[in-house]
């Protein structure tokens, strides 16, 4: 009996809502949605979008869903080589759960790690990368509230690493840089700026530190996966709504949304790449003569003549025997037997014509030529040294600020 009455009441209520709605529509009345009604309408919209996407997929002739890019795919013309050079794990870190992430974001506040390496200056063509001589690791927020548990012990190891790193000055062995990265990831701390910083410090190392570059790439893939994760869970940091709505009173600036670690892990598994380190500031080349070996993520791939080669900032190209690369604008880059090329050094391999082409564009861009500036965007690995020299020698020239902006695209 009670069930019947309850069922009847539900039907009456539903009819009442529908009738009210029809009445409002007929009369043209408009009502401001209540706070309780808003989630219901949103849920309804989500269901409708979901159904529409299902219908779209079932439609005959609908395009197949694009699968994530397979980053392990070899470039055309490649033949397998003796891979990997060294074993470098490319998995998502096991210890990165939501609690660890919350600790990480609390400790480094919002993107402030770089403050503690204050005056790094990758400014000269010769490549002098300096940190503030007074290592300010003492001020790291990590220091506050260290209580001696395991996580804080690991933080203390990282702080000591930062102190030693800063005290060491501009020259670092690959092992030292790797140790600092180990210490950071041990905290765990994943920070895009730190990865870029270590990459900049590795610029003068010969041979190129393949294992370090692979580790930096994995670090960057994790930071990128965290960005992708936040797209589905919501941001860690408060976002001022369209420069209009501020945070509510008492808002904790760093709040890891539930499930962020899992979402980032999933994004990583789906093939999250190193972000701009994958997509930008690369040099599009072709193997012109001979055979070269591309070392990417510590894995070697042999590329024969005719094969396209995209030199990213985290790649190393080696020539076991004499070979040559070609760029459509810069001409041929000769590689003697045993030569090694990275994004830092590829400009040194330019021929006279290539060098002149770069210098002409840099001079024009320095004078404010917009077309030359746009061309240089695609030549950053080959042109960064000239850009640095030009912006350094004439810092107030009409186009100097734009050159400095381009350099951010290479250095960060």
């Amino acid at each position: 009996m009670i069930r019947t009455i309850r069922g009847l009441a539900v039907w009456v209520a539903a009819a009442w809502v529908v009738l009210g709605l029809v009445r409002r529509i007929v009369r043209g009345e408009v009502v401001v949605l209540s706070a309780h009604g808003a989630p219901v309408v949103r849920l309804l919209a989500i269901v409708l979008v979901f159904l529409a996407s299902c219908a779209e997929k079932l439609r005959p002739g609908a395009p197949a869903e694009q699968t994530p890019q397979d980053l392990s795919q070899k470039p055309a013309g490649a033949t397998p080589g003796p891979a990997p050079v060294v074993e470098v794990a490319q998995e998502f870190p096991d210890d990165l759960d939501d609690a660890a992430l919350q600790r990480m974001y609390n400790w480094v506040e919002a993107r402030t790690l770089h403050h503690y390496f204050a005056s790094e200056r990758p400014d000269a063509a010769a490549g002098d990368v300096r940190d503030a001589p007074a290592g300010s690791a003492q001020k790291l927020p990590f220091m506050t509230g260290l209580a001696g548990d395991a996580a804080n012990e690991r933080a203390a190891v990282f702080i000591r690493g930062v102190d030693e790193h800063v005290a060491r000055g501009p020259v670092h062995a690959a092992a030292d840089l790797l140790a600092l990265l180990d210490a950071a990831e041990g905290v765990p701390l994943y920070d895009e700026w730190l990865a870029a910083h270590l990459w900049r410090h590795a610029r003068t190392l010969r041979p190129a530190p393949v294992a370090l570059l692979a580790r930096i790439e994995r670090h960057l893939r994790v930071t990128h996966a965290l960005v992708l994760g936040q797209a589905s869970t919501g941001p860690v940091e408060f976002s001022a709504w369209r420069s209009k709505a501020g945070p509510p009173p008492g808002w904790n600036r760093m709040r890891v949304p539930a499930g962020l670690a899992a979402a980032a892990r999933e994004a990583f598994k789906q093939g999250a790449d190193a972000g701009t380190w994958e997509t930008e500031a690369a040099l599009e080349l072709t193997v012109a003569r001979g055979e070269v070996v591309l070392v990417r993520r510590a894995v070697e791939t042999r590329l024969a003549a005719g094969a396209p080669l995209r030199l990213r900032r985290l790649d190393v190209v080696r020539a076991p025997a004499a070979a040559a690369l070609r760029h459509p604008l810069l001409g041929e880059l000769a590689l003697p037997a045993g030569a090694e090329v990275t994004a830092w050094t590829v400009g040194e391999r330019l021929g006279a014509a290539g060098r002149a082409a770069v210098q002409a564009r840099v001079s024009a861009a320095l004078a404010g030529d917009a077309a030359a500036l746009t061309e240089l965007e695609g030549l950053l690995p080959a042109a960064h040294a000239e850009l640095r020299a030009a912006a350094g020698s004439k810092p107030s020239a009409p186009g100097a600020a734009a050159l400095r902006m381009l350099l951010v695209g290479f250095d960060e």
Partner: protein, 347 residues
């Protein structure tokens, strides 16, 4: 809420448009999230990109009592959206302390957009009723900012304002830079200034040819500049809270690299602008043909409920399609295509 957010995040623009149309069919409207009031047209600067053509006070600006009755009381009835005070220069209005105190007393959160020059004079007001958000204009380094603003010392005043606002407890201070052809190539030089200013975040607005800006169309950045600034902002998000504001339009799935939340045009849907003389507009334009009515003639509640139908019924095509900024769309600037269309792979 968490599950709803995650479901929503998968296709935010589509859900937003569907929800907008659904609400229209059901004769429902969202409550506004923020209502911006151009408190005065008076301004002591003369910036070429000013969307409100600010300069002299207009004769029929809303009075103190009208502001309380026609705006604050109405916002309370509309569910207490954020009251955003802008201008002109809002702090040139003498009754601002009274209006802010009244709004705070009614439980409204308030925000302000200012050039910063008069902020120190209002320290006690800001300490008593700290805004939830304050946006301070910072359009370049000292020389460029002062030149652009037409007044020497305005750069230092802006930095001083940021400090005062943080000291008095403003929860979110945003340094706002309007990207124009003149400063687009200089944002890398401005970055360290902003990062050291004490601001919580950096909002990169995009020049819109509205108001006085319409007289300076040449200020619109080139496509290459747009692309470079967008790429720069993406990189700097690793070290500072940089956000591309709405005028840039949507970067589609890549929005996550440029802003914390996907682009959504809120004009007439969750926000609106009240002009100095009470006209209710969808967004920051001085074009009165866009007005949905005047507060002196009809209450804001009614204008909000019955107006802005073209923003609510159509979505695609008519005013903003969930991808473009409405302001830029009406001016024919396809910023989104220019800034993000070919930025994914340079090299």
């Amino acid at each position: 809420m968490g599950l709803l957010h995650r479901l929503y995040a998968r296709a935010a623009p589509e859900v937003w448009e569907t929800e907008t149309r659904l609400l229209h069919v059901l004769r429902l409207v969202r409550r506004p999230v923020a209502v911006q009031w151009i408190v005065t047209a008076a301004c002591d600067l003369h910036c070429p990109h000013c969307y409100s053509s600010a300069g002299k006070r207009v004769a029929d600006e809303l009075t103190t009592e009208e502001a309380k009755r026609l705006i604050v009381d109405e916002l309370v009835a509309l569910g207490k959206p954020v009251l955003v005070l802008a201008g002109g220069e809002l702090l040139l209005r003498r009754d601002i302390p009274e209006i802010v105190a009244y709004a705070a007393g009614q439980g409204l959160d308030w925000a302000m957009h200012t050039h910063g020059g008069h902020v120190p004079k209002f320290r006690s007001l800001l300490a008593r009723h700290p805004p939830a958000l304050a946006a301070i204009s910072l359009d370049g380094e000292r020389a460029q900012h002062d030149l652009f603003r037409g007044k020497r010392g305005s750069f230092d005043a802006a930095l001083a304002a940021i400090r005062v606002l943080k000291e008095t407890g403003c929860r979110e201070v945003v340094a706002g830079t309007t990207v124009t052809r003149q400063n687009a190539d200089r944002v890398a030089d401005l970055f360290p200034v902003v990062a050291a200013s004490g601001a919580d975040s950096w909002g990169l607005h995009l020049f819109a040819p509205e108001g006085r800006g319409a007289e300076h169309m040449a200020l619109f950045p080139t496509p290459a500049q747009l692309r470079r600034v967008a790429a720069f902002a993406r990189r700097k998000r690793a070290v500072f809270h940089v956000e591309l504001c709405n005028e840039w339009g949507s970067a589609g799935a890549d929005d996550r690299y440029y802003r914390d939340q996907p682009f959504l045009c809120g004009a007439g849907r969750i926000s609106c602008v009240i002009g100095a003389s009470g006209e209710v507009l969808p967004c920051t334009t001085t074009d009165l043909s866009e007005s949905e009515g005047n507060l002196r003639d009809r209450p804001l509640r009614e204008i909000w409920a019955r107006g802005f139908t073209r923003f609510r019924r159509a979505g695609h095509g008519e005013c903003s399609d969930g991808k473009e900024c409405w302001l830029q769309t009406r001016n024919g600037n396809a910023c989104r295509e220019q800034a993000f269309g070919c930025s994914r792979r340079v090299g």
